[in-house]
Symmetry: C2
């Protein structure tokens, strides 16, 4: 039976999604919980990796189990077994050809910046606290300029990181929106909204390069501080060089918001 789970997690205390031998990871905790509940050792596939410290409002995972378990029972048993920082929001049976990563068509990420002088301790793990003056209108203009199909090389990690990651047989899967070859991605929506003391950046696209959202946010912050002009984004994209863009914003502000199939 092929399973699809939606997961929320607080990534702060995990070394990212991908299973590692000696560090707690989301995939590792989920695999261990599934084994404790069902006795079966499987490797749940995520819609994509999230980095250390990155959170998820609705990460999607899929895996195949032999045991015929009722939907509600698996969800409840996993939530009893998993650490409180990882919750199974829903569980459903899906057709055998469903694969959380291969079938992902569109993803949305959210990045949260906290804008008041004192960030409450209970928000500190989930926002980038940034109390500098920021020109939000300029940031909005910059955010809109990435909508459409672009080569996002300037916003991709120059990834020594990738070579240190465990080998992934699917890494060049042409159907995987994040890992497919090339740096061209299509962004459908990209906007910044004020929500109380938060400044929230939401971006929806057919795939994202490693660190892409955090590098975009770092660059939009440069725009907001007046270090570069909004229209410079077009030039930064054209340069196709990581050094053209801004710094990588901290992982703690980033949430995988949703995955569409």
């Amino acid at each position: 039976m092929n399973w699809k789970l939606a997961l929320a997690y607080d990534g702060t205390d995990f070394h990212g999604w991908q299973i590692q031998p000696s560090h707690p990871t989301i995939q590792g905790e989920l695999a261990a919980a599934i084994e404790r509940v069902t006795g079966e050792r499987v490797l749940p596939q995520g819609s994509g990796r999230t980095d250390a410290g990155v959170h998820a409002l609705a990460q999607i995972a899929s895996f195949d189990l032999n045991a015929p378990i009722p939907l509600e029972n698996l969800q409840r048993a996993l939530n009893r077994t998993l650490p409180a920082a990882i919750r199974v929001l829903s569980a459903e049976h899906v057709s055998p050809d469903f694969h959380a990563r291969h079938c992902a068509r569109v993803k949305t990420y959210e990045y949260r910046i906290f804008r008041a002088e004192i960030c409450p301790p209970w928000l500190a793990r989930y926002v980038y606290a940034l109390n500098w003056p920021l020109n939000i209108d300029s940031m909005q203009q910059a955010a809109a300029l990435i909508i459409g199909e672009h080569d996002f090389t300037s916003f991709a990690a120059t990834d020594p990181d990738l070579s240190t990651r465990a080998p992934d047989p699917d890494a060049s899967d042409p159907l995987d929106p994040d890992s497919r070859a090339g740096s061209i991605r299509t962004i459908y929506a990209s906007s910044i909204v004020k929500e109380g003391e938060l400044l929230v950046y939401r971006v929806r696209g057919n795939g994202f390069l490693h660190h892409m959202v955090r590098n975009l946010v770092g660059t939009f912050i440069d725009v907001g501080r007046g270090h570069i002009a909004p229209q410079d984004i077009t030039d930064i994209l054209a340069q196709r060089s990581r050094s053209a863009a801004g710094a990588t914003a901290p992982a703690r502000g980033l949430f995988l918001y949703s995955v569409e199939y």
Copy 2:
């Protein structure tokens, strides 16, 4: 110059308020931050201790500094130095005879129970997630029965804990509302309110024994589950025996809400 600070903190990753040689504590972090900022080594006094895992919305601390530092500067410098889990909400100069613990007259605590099936990971550190059916009306009745002057021995930790605490020369200070001799305290308000998916218990009194709020909450939960009747609270108080009351609710749901002087 005598200083009064209001502090908010996430107690999850600290071994309580009181300074310890080899574990991070709130008092220890604050003393270290004051020393880094001012060069002066002082031991800030809190309005009372909070246990490991207990949070504060507005703990009060006082200490004396020789250096004449402007108010805003000390607050900002401490917030830059302290971990993000501890924030200085305000700083003010107070008369030399102000002492955060000796002068505290009234304290309010809040205990948060989360009532939906799935507790979001970003709330898990700050609530007791409890999805059993609970009779809230019964819990309300029970909570109201502790208002007034009572001997709270039944709700006090039988404290092997106290003997393992570092000796405190002020521990029997008759002016300290928490540590003064005897188990008689006056409760001015005690009520349970529903706030969205939270059930919030707020209790205001002239002092609280060790574990008192958590033991009250554990007992109110027994009432809510129908294990005991609301009016049994009166009998439990009269027995003056810890074993008469319910279990100690987890530290993570408890917040020191305010201190009045």
